[in-house]
């Protein structure tokens, strides 16, 4: 299997079936370090499924996935003890942010640092506060998740993932609960993360967001990538753009 040397994330001929129905039918995609890629397509096109397969939450039946040096193979999910390397290389921010309801914002960020990475509680706290600060939510450190606004919760969730310093960052519909201002703030944050050399793959419906912030766009349809290229090129194609938007409207 041929792999680009600089690719942080490589997906080849990925096939995923759920309940006997094929969701992905041979998806190919690459994301380089320092690149922000938008994964687009209508609801049910397989965007979330692709992210879940890459982060090993869902088994895949054929194809291959490389995250940095880590290779995932088809078949049943490996036990967590054999996924350590993947967990250190890739992180994911879920659509409903999925913060731990019983822990404060700060404790949400330190939990994995202390218990999975064995960082001392003092250092974890320091690092977590730095991250919350850089994302503009340090003042909410002691708040519980249900006391946070949608935007704040999302930034805490990003801080939680960044605490583990992953090279590959996956995000599922990050703009779903944001107003336009917050959306731009998120875009700037993600660009900054890309500049640090991380590879970002963002599943989104949001044409405007993709056009403004993504380096590249991959459009999924029927479980395969049907169009791919620089955001400006793919999304200036009127047919594709309007097609996407119409479908979004239907969904």
């Amino acid at each position: 299997m041929e792999r680009g040397v600089s690719h942080a994330l490589v997906v080849r001929r990925l096939e995923v079936a759920r309940g006997g129905v094929a969701v992905l039918r041979g998806l190919d995609l690459d994301v380089d370090s320092g690149e922000l890629v938008a994964l687009m397509g209508e609801s049910g096109a397989g965007k979330s499924t692709a992210l879940r397969a890459i982060i090993a939450l869902e088994p895949f039946s054929a194809g291959s996935i490389y995250v940095g040096d880590v290779e995932l193979s088809p078949g049943p999910l490996a036990p967590e003890s054999r996924l350590r390397a993947l967990r250190r290389s890739a992180g994911m921010v879920f659509q409903a942010h999925s913060l731990f309801d019983h822990l404060s914002a700060l404790d949400n960020v330190t939990l994995a640092l202390v218990h999975a990475m064995r960082v001392s509680p003092e250092h974890a706290r320091e690092r977590a506060l730095e991250l919350l600060e850089s994302l503009g939510v340090a003042h909410r450190a002691v708040a519980l998740p249900r006391q946070l606004s949608g935007g704040e919760a999302q930034r805490v969730a990003i801080a939680r993932v960044l605490a583990l310093d992953p090279r590959v960052l996956l995000m599922d519909e990050p703009t779903a609960a944001l107003d336009p201002q917050r959306r731009d703030a998120l875009g700037r944050t993600l660009r900054a993360l890309a500049r640090e050399g991380r590879a970002l793959l963002v599943a989104t419906h949001d044409l405007e967001f993709a056009r403004s912030w993504a380096d590249r766009v991959i459009v999924l349809d029927g479980g395969v990538a049907v169009r791919e290229g620089p955001a400006a090129a793919v999304l200036s194609d009127d047919r594709a753009a309007s097609g996407c938007e119409e479908r979004q409207g239907e969904a």
Binding site: E80, R88, A112, A116, R160
Partner: protein, 492 residues
């Protein structure tokens, strides 16, 4: 009934005296444990109104005579009357004697002493019916109450087959007479001692002079303890001979040898010169220490059982959520069997049924029985709570590199605990009250102690209110604590 020739008894006694007196230390060395039911009340066994932590009654006196004759110290063990037979076989005590009635099948399973008292099964009827219902034959088609599991009950069962008497079984010997007076029953058939006691206490009925049958009280011992039985027989014969047995029964207004039935009845009808029942106001205060001790038993028993239930419940729930298919099926079967059968039955099986395999002390059996029973209910609460934690949180935890065990300990468990708290409190309060069931396996806790005193003072009103108050005092702070915890977790 077996009659012993006086000469033979004297020989046995002499032999006994020769071999017993010499080695027995003057201070009375070892202990003779005897089991009885203080709920049975006077004149058999009752809590002493002067010192409710002690018992008194003619069975107490006779147990004392036997113990002295054996050169041992008597020690009373509380046991439910219906459980005396199993308990003595189990070895909970050496002698069972609390108005234990002699019958043929008893001799097949146990060592049984000679009778120490002859009683009459007498019919109690309302005064208006005294001419109408003289014998069981007169009562065809009528409701006749008695204490379940007694000789009187067996007589009624026979009569129901023969002439259509309707036997009604009770768990205690107070309510049949109340129901007779109130008209729910037309007659009560029970031992003359019990009938006369009820007549003194509540009245409102008469006792027919002609007994339906004659029965005997005996001392019960474990099968195979024939040497002990022979000693007991010798002692009883000696005490009959020297008149101390008669004095004892006379002191309890219970002297009614078969040849002097009318005398005994006249004595009992006379408004007995006190065989119990001091003024209620005095007795309440004197019962408080014992009730407090019983409340501590209830509380400790409940806390230990709940601890066991929580630990086992967590393991069962974890097994059912995380385990493989065979484990899940086995645990589900456990939960269904335990939930689907009465806890009373489980306690009996654990204590008596398994006694040939493991001989658990009564208190340990109570803790294990209640604990394992409640574990089934707890496990369902925890399983539901674990499954209520949103899946995305668990997936997020996995992608952060936490192991399954860490996720359970740090993410899923703590949140599930918050959900489980209210139903757990509920269960603990229920357990506090269910702990009263363990009196069937000889543990004296709050309810049993209350029942003993209720029999003692002849009324449930004050002891019942007191008992209810103590249960409330124990359960209310707990509910309060749970509410505060819940508020703290949900506010913040």
């Amino acid at each position: 009934m077996r009659r012993f020739p006086p000469l033979a008894s004297l020989v046995v006694l002499a032999a006994l005296a020769a071999c017993q007196r010499a080695p027995a230390p003057p201070s009375g060395g070892s202990v003779l444990r005897w089991g009885g039911d203080a709920e049975g009340g006077a004149p058999f066994v009752e809590a002493d109104p002067a010192d409710p932590s002690k018992v008194r009654g003619f069975d107490v006196d006779i147990a004392g005579m036997i113990a002295r004759g054996l050169g041992r110290r008597p020690q009373f063990v509380q046991v439910a009357w219906a459980s005396i037979e199993q308990s003595v076989e189990r070895g909970d005590f050496d002698l069972g004697m609390s108005g234990v009635e002699d019958r043929a099948d008893l001799h097949e399973r146990h060592a049984v002493s000679i009778p120490y008292y002859e009683f009459r099964e007498v019919l109690a009827v309302r005064p208006a019916d005294s001419a109408r219902f003289r014998t069981l034959d007169d009562l065809a088609g009528h409701r006749v109450g008695t204490l379940g599991g007694t000789g009187a009950y067996r007589i009624l069962l026979d009569a129901s087959a023969k002439n259509g008497v309707m036997p009604i079984s009770y768990d205690d010997d107070v309510h049949p007479y109340e129901d007779l007076v109130s008209g729910r029953l037309d007659a009560v058939l029970l031992d003359n001692i019990i009938a006369e006691r009820s007549l003194r206490r509540t009245g409102g009925f008469i006792i027919q002079p002609v007994p339906v049958a004659v029965g005997h009280y005996v001392v019960l011992m474990a099968h195979g303890r024939t040497a002990l039985r022979d000693s007991v027989n010798a002692i009883l014969l000696a005490r009959m001979h020297d008149g101390s047995l008669e004095r004892t029964f006379r002191s309890w207004k219970a002297w009614s040898a078969a040849e002097s039935t009318y005398v005994a009845q006249a004595l009992a009808r006379a408004p007995a010169a006190e065989s119990g029942t001091p003024p209620t106001s005095r007795s309440i205060a004197s019962y408080l220490p014992s009730l407090a001790r019983a409340a501590v038993v209830t509380l400790v028993l409940s806390l230990l059982s709940m601890t066991l239930a929580v630990c086992a419940g967590v393991l069962i729930a974890a097994g059912r959520v995380y385990g493989d298919a065979p484990l899940r099926a086995a645990l589900a079967a456990y939960v269904e069997v335990v939930r689907g059968t009465p806890v009373l039955l489980q306690l009996f099986v654990l204590y008596y049924g398994l006694s040939s395999v493991v001989r658990l002390p009564a208190f340990a059996a109570a803790v294990i029985g209640l604990g394992l029973n409640y574990a089934a209910y707890e496990s369902e609460i925890y399983r539901g709570a674990l499954q209520a934690i949103a899946r995305p949180q668990l997936e997020a935890a996995r992608t952060l590199g936490l192991s399954e065990l860490q996720i359970l300990r740090l993410v899923r468990g703590p949140q599930a605990l918050r959900l489980a708290l209210a139903p757990m409190t509920n269960d603990f309060v229920a357990l506090l009250k269910d702990s009263s069931l363990v009196s069937v396996i000889t543990v004296v806790e709050l309810t049993k102690q209350t029942a003993i005193y209720a029999t003692n003072v002849g009324s449930w009103v004050v002891p019942g209110a007191l008992c209810a108050a103590i249960y409330l005092v124990m359960s209310l702070p707990l509910a309060h604590l749970a509410r505060r915890l819940e508020r703290r977790w949900s506010a913040a």
